[in-house]
């Protein structure tokens, strides 16, 4: 099966600033892929590259089987794109906008349109410029879902929305989920945790990981090792053990490649006098924090090394 989105070494530079660095990403058909990362990580740039709004500096990306530079015209009748900072035709009423959009899409579903309008309770005769942010986003959703797109791309769609509106939008998305692939970006883990099937984490233009949520959840464990006597942390801890720390007789770390009993045996072998080992599943937020902090520490260490290696003037 051809992935809906696939990138290879996708890189984007603005002048000397590298915003995205060799991103490899695969979004299978039918997935709800959440691209998360802090502000400024490169999520919006990534989406703009995928939508052919920007052109990559290096690497390539394919969307719906097409190279992104071929994305134009008719192919957008299969893509629904909504962005938090997209300019809408503000002077139009909601009715006028939907009427205007309709002829562009051969697969426009009037019944679905009516359903979305009812579901979102859109004020049809009000101009978009007079709508609240939440209403405007709902109108954008309605105009992007009514033609049953094969791919829905959302750039920070829930930012600044109240929980009620956010839930309404998520609900409408999930109703479409069986027939479409959804790719969305967010800097808020909590809002995507409940429904994303795949997740990718972007930080400072680098993809730290990209995988299925269930695999990710199975892979990470918060490990607590209780020892008979206090110990110092050995220097040769495996790279998959993140954020290791010790307090008296207790050692805690995040195992990023947890494999059940095998991992527990590995722990027992690493420390002398192990009294107890507990491995607890982690919430997504804790996993991300562990990865983010480790990533930042590694980046800082790399930078420090680079500074240290500079020849003295």
């Amino acid at each position: 099966m051809i992935p809906t989105i696939q990138t290879h070494d996708l890189t984007k530079r603005f002048g000397r600033t590298e915003v995205l660095h060799e991103i490899d990403l695969t979004v299978p058909e039918g997935a709800i892929y959440a691209l998360v990362g802090p502000n400024g990580a490169g999520k919006t740039t990534m989406i703009k590259l995928l939508m052919n709004i920007l052109r990559p500096t290096a690497g390539s990306a394919r969307v719906l089987g097409l190279d992104t530079h071929e994305l134009a015209g008719e192919v957008f009748s299969r893509i629904g794109y909504v962005s938090e900072n997209q300019e809408m035709p503000e002077a139009m009423t909601v009715t006028a906008m939907l009427e205007y959009m309709r002829p562009f899409y051969p697969r426009w579903d009037r019944e679905l349109e009516r359903q979305l309008v009812r579901q979102f309770d859109l004020p049809m005769e009000r101009k978009l410029k007079h709508l609240s942010r939440g209403m405007k986003m709902k109108a954008a959703f309605a105009s992007s879902l009514a033609y049953r797109p094969s791919l829905i791309v959302l750039d920070e769609p829930f930012t600044g929305l109240d929980p009620l509106v956010r839930d309404e939008l998520i609900e409408s998305l999930l109703e479409r989920a069986p027939e479409t692939t959804i790719f969305l970006s967010s800097h808020d883990l909590a809002e995507i945790e409940s429904f994303a099937s795949h997740v990718g984490y972007l930080e400072e233009g680098r993809m730290l990981f990209s995988e299925e949520m269930t695999v990710l959840a199975d892979r990470f464990r918060e490990v607590t090792v209780t020892l008979t006597a206090p110990v110092k942390l050995p220097h040769d801890l495996p790279a998959t053990w993140l954020q290791a720390e010790t307090v008296d007789c207790v050692v805690r770390f995040v195992h990023s490649e947890y494999q059940g009993e095998a991992s527990e045996r590995e722990v027992a072998e690493k420390f002398a006098g192990v009294r107890d080992v507990t491995c607890e599943a982690m919430p997504l937020r804790a996993i991300f924090l562990a990865i983010a902090k480790t990533g930042r520490m590694q980046n800082h260490a790399t930078q420090r090394t680079a500074v240290d290696r500079r020849p003295e003037a």
Binding site: I79, M92, P103
Partner: protein, 523 residues
Amino acid sequence: MRQVLNIFRKDTRQFWLEILASFAALAIYVVHYPARWNVVQYPLSYQQLGDNWMMCVVVVAWWLLIARVVHAESLVGERQFWITRPYEWKSLIVAKALFVGVWIYVPFVIAQMLVLREAGFSPLGHASGWLLMLALYSGVFIFPLIAIAALTANFARMALAVFGSYLAAIACTIWITNRSEVHAVSVYSQGYGTMVPYSHFFVLVVFAVVGGASVVLLQYATRRVWLSCTLAVCLAALGAGGALALSSRMPQREVDRQYPAASSGVANPLQLAFAPKPSNPLFVGVWPSNVFIAFPIDLSGVPEGAAMEVDNMQFSMDAADGEHWIGPWRQLNTTPFLPGTHSPSLPFILSRKDYEHFKSMPVTLHVVLAVTELRAGRETTATIANPTFPVNGFGVCSTQWGEQSQNFLHCRSEFGELPLTYVTAAFSNKPCSGPQPQPEDVRTFAEWTGKAYPDPIDAGSDPVRVTFAESGAYDNRGHEHGTRGLALCPGTPAQFTHYDVVRRSRAYLTVPNFQLPAEVHPT
């Protein structure tokens, strides 16, 4: 096509106010434009604003309309909603072109037809005139505005770009004009001729249309602003270079080419003689770097039924010490000379250095006049009537009173300038309201109007050309007289004689032992 119509409908609905504004501007133009035909009643406020203020209002309204419709689907930026919708760029550009065609070109053509009808002409016909006029508007206003709109994200940026381009164009024009004006010559038009011949000017207009269209096409196809901007700048530079090349081709070589030197044995087309007299003396004027000598001549030998237009002149000198000096061709702005003896004064300009060198010795002075020989052609006699009367092959005329109590003929023609015409009319020194004037009360006066090489359309770019055939400045031998207080009465005839170009040639005058006059310093 479905998409084109959908976008067109949306734009029309969305910008109905701007469309109405441009219609209002055109309506003002149509309603007020005829006021220009009546010089005396032409409101002072209009005169102060300038002749073309109404068209300026229309152009500003177009600017607003073009900005709004192009920026509705802005081609600059990354946040526009339409760029991730299934717009075909070809449909988008056709929809915008349709909008401009329907809401700018069609109303404009209708407005000009109304102006033509109001002026007393048939709005239909004159296909070439229409085509040239629309090309002029497209090249000077519409296409450049569309191109700038396509390269800018909003109206404020567009305004900056328009003013920047306008200033650049003015600077470029001043530079080109200054560069060419030193040796201005008249080849293509009589009197105050255009620096760039009309045919060349239209090459530039067509270039502007094609260039503007290329930039717009590239921008719609690629949405790469830097690429389209580069193309626009290159085309603008190319256009300026072309204008410079076309204008710099005008002088000297062009006169040599257009006015062939007389072969030996061929009689001088004019009799010329150096003829200083108290009423027309040899006179020296001093400019900062040049010396100006008013060189009086007698000019005769124009055959009956002909006229002679002196377009350019050239002075040269041979000094006794063997030194030779030759001046450039210079344009001469005079009315055509009719049969008889005339005493014009030719401006002889040379540098102060050359003047100082040659004034100390007698020289052989050579004067060459580049002349256009004209022959009287079709003659039309019309009877003056109120308020207007048609003149076959000329236009629609009326009589009007000027501010100095002089009565004159005022004519308008459709599309383009009039051919060179000699207008004679009988003036009465009795009021028209009185009894029929006796022959001794009537004097005939005449005036030249039109051009030997008329431009296909008025550079002012409206379809109705206004001509002031004053018929009072000269008598029928070309001598100047006044007509103050005389009246052109209904029922009296006016004669319109077309003069056709026979050929261009040169007339020569040699003055041996000529002594450059000394400067006269004020005491």
